[in-house]
């Protein structure tokens, strides 16, 4: 425990294994907690259902931006070779759409790649410099630790009662995130 003084940000409970974490997430969800998260070194199969998370909207974001990117580059090709700088090249029409396919496709892929990457970061509110879980000295969810964090902002949160609840569902240790 790094810091014994300061504001309470939440509780961090460690579990033994991916299976135990999955069961715990189901029970915490059933108990009505909303602002909790499970931390693990790798994504655990079935955790989204256990935490009752909605499907990620990244697919829609990437799809929409891919359409915009493709349409944008197609429009650029049409405008630059038919309106702004019309030149007859190998007898093709100004708007020779077959020849415009590769660049249009590249534009769509490029925009989808940026949308998927930066959309994911934005939804995850990353990059960020600090988070309450980093107040803990034992937080090793990037190595082999499996944790549940419950935020103090949750309406059902009560430092002692929630800690007792976490112990009752089989966590190995509970830590108060303070700082």
């Amino acid at each position: 425990m790094a810091n014994q003084s300061g504001k309470v940000h939440g509780l961090l409970a460690r579990f033994e294994s991916p299976g135990a974490l999955l069961e715990a997430a189901k029970k915490i969800n059933a108990a009505g907690y909303k602002k909790f998260d499970s931390h693990s070194p790798f994504p655990i199969h079935g955790m989204d259902e256990a935490m009752r998370l909605k499907r990620s909207p990244i697919g829609w974001i990437a799809g929409l931006l891919a359409l915009c990117g493709g349409a944008g580059l197609l429009a650029l090709q049409w405008w630059s070779s038919s309106v702004e700088y019309p030149l007859v090249i190998s007898g093709k029409p100004f708007f020779s759409f077959q020849a415009y396919v590769p660049v249009t496709f590249a534009g769509a892929v490029l925009c989808a790649a940026f949308a998927a990457t930066f959309g994911m970061l934005m939804i995850n509110q990353l990059p960020r410099l600090h988070h309450p879980v980093f107040f803990s000295d034992n937080f090793n969810a990037t190595d082999d630790g499996f944790f549940i964090s419950i935020e103090a902002g949750d309406p059902d949160f009560d430092k002692d009662k929630t800690a007792a609840f976490l112990k009752s569902i089989g966590c190995v240790e509970v830590e108060v995130l303070q700082g």
């Binding site: 999955l22 994504p43 496709f105 892929v109």
Partner: protein
């Protein structure tokens, strides 16, 4: 049940993906330590050699820019020489990395987790080397921006009907998408290194690069979908980028280039050469960092099988080209192919056939495709052969085209060779920096394919169908 599962393996299941059944912490420790510990003398020797060669590349480029394209062996009629050969060679090598990271991911080939990180790194470094060549071969590189659709004072625009411009977009997109894919894959592993870092300086750098990742499932959810999408959009790139590169040739009217087989034939060749490079690199990486448990013989055998398959596709391409040349009844086309086999560049053609068609046939034999010395030699020979394939395609068609009066024999100069050798220097310098500072194996993905990562793994506290 514990002993039973060890004897009984479900059909189609092979040896465990990671040998020795390490626990999660052992995986973290083993892979992170590679980039945390002090490097040995071999690394310094390696980087001083490759770094010197990279300097040679930049000297060659500087001389080229100063003096002009005349320093190369290109002239009439061979106006495209080693620069374009090297470009196609390097782009092709990159394709295996994308195939491993994207297509094998979509196909749920879980063995890819051991090799995808450095295969993706190989893609990035190879495409970096590739991008140099079209950049410098324009001669006046200060007007290279003409390739991009930028408003300019002359009010001209690029010709979007030209395959050369498609190339700019295809390869540029390929590089960018590969970089993003690689970086997204790296975020959880950089967070692992961040949490292990002791020095303040390292903590700050890794803290910034890992973007504050904390492994929460609310993050993993979006992360996994983003990764899936990146894999999904990289998949067509494996096929499209080299197809577009092949149209540089196929859209022209030159005999030997003007063929419809070029796109699939180029793609197969790209994957073939890329897997050979992955093989060469993985043999060294697993040996140098004692990663035999992670990159097992079974992994290497699978790579060899891919090389056998794509090698035969390439061989099929060589024979169909000959058949179509004869079947077309076009005398120029027939001449070009006969000339490749018996003409002035026959030595290049037969090097190509030996390395690309004959060498991979060794992999029919299990004993040979599981032997490290055999695969090391074979993978290097295949890359030699694939370079010669591009040499034969580019040079033989240009040197002996329609009019015998315009024929000439093309020879490279010192600066052609130094630029090519230098590009290897740059490639290996970047790869050595990568293995030094970045986890060479995707730590979080390897943990995910361990048997105990499954929440229903036997002996687990959470096991049981009652709650499921």
């Amino acid at each position: 049940m514990g002993s039973k599962t060890e004897i009984f393996q479900p059909p189609g299941e092979e040896a465990p993906l990671i040998a020795g059944n390490p626990d999660f912490h052992a995986v973290t420790d083993k892979i992170s330590r590679i980039s945390e510990r002090k490097v040995g003398r071999l690394w310094y020797i390696g980087i001083s050699i490759s770094g010197s060669l990279a300097v040679l590349l930049f000297v060659s480029i500087a001389y080229l820019v100063w003096e002009g394209i005349g320093v190369w062996g290109v002239n009439n009629p061979v106006g495209w020489g080693w620069a374009i050969i090297n470009f196609v060679f390097w782009v092709g090598i990159g394709h295996a990395g994308t195939l491993i990271s994207a297509i094998l991911f979509l196909l749920r080939q879980r063995w890819r987790t051991s090799i995808n990180r450095f295969a993706e790194a190989m893609t990035l470094m190879a495409v970096t080397c590739a991008l140099i060549f079209p950049g410098i071969h324009v001669g006046r590189i200060w007007i290279a921006y003409f390739m991009f659709p930028l408003p300019n004072q002359m009010e001209i625009w690029p010709n979007f009907r030209s395959p050369l411009l498609w190339d700019v977009f295809a390869v540029g997109t390929y590089f960018t998408a590969s970089l993003l894919f690689w970086y997204v894959g790296l975020i959880p592993d950089l967070a692992t290194l961040r949490d292990r870092a002791k020095q303040k300086f390292k903590k700050i750098i890794l803290g910034a690069l890992s973007l504050g990742w904390r492994g929460g499932n609310r993050q993993w959810k979006h992360y996994e979908l983003a990764y899936l999408i990146l894999a999904g959009i990289s998949t067509p790139l494996v096929l499209s980028v080299h197809s577009v590169v092949s149209t540089d040739f196929a859209v022209s009217i030159l005999p030997g280039w003007h063929t419809t087989i070029f796109p699939p034939y180029f793609v197969a060749g790209a994957i073939f050469s890329g897997f050979a490079m992955v093989m060469t690199l993985s043999i060294f990486v697993r040996k140098a960092f004692n990663l035999e448990d992670y990159i097992t013989i079974s992994h290497l055998e699978k790579i060899n099988k891919v090389m056998l398959l794509t090698g035969m596709m390439v061989g099929y391409g060589y024979s169909v080209e000959f058949f179509i040349a004869w079947y077309s009844g076009n005398i120029y086309e027939v001449f070009t192919f006969v000339n490749r086999a018996v003409g002035p560049y026959a030595w290049g053609y037969w090097t190509m056939i030996c390395c690309n068609v004959l060498v991979p046939q060794l992999f029919w034999f299990k004993k040979l495709r599981t032997s490290i010395p055999v695969m090391l030699v074979a993978s290097i020979l295949i890359n030699v052969g694939m370079w010669f394939e591009r040499f034969v395609i580019v040079v033989s068609s240009l040197a002996n085209d329609f009019l015998p009066s315009s024929w000439a024999y093309y020879k490279p100069t010192f600066w052609d060779i130094s630029t090519f050798v230098g590009s290897f220097g740059l490639f290996f310098t970047l790869m050595l920096l990568f293995v030094r500072f970045v986890p060479v194996i995707a730590i979080s993905e390897v943990k995910g394919v361990l048997p105990q990562a499954d929440p229903h793994h036997h002996g687990d506290a959470g096991e049981g169908g009652s709650n499921g």
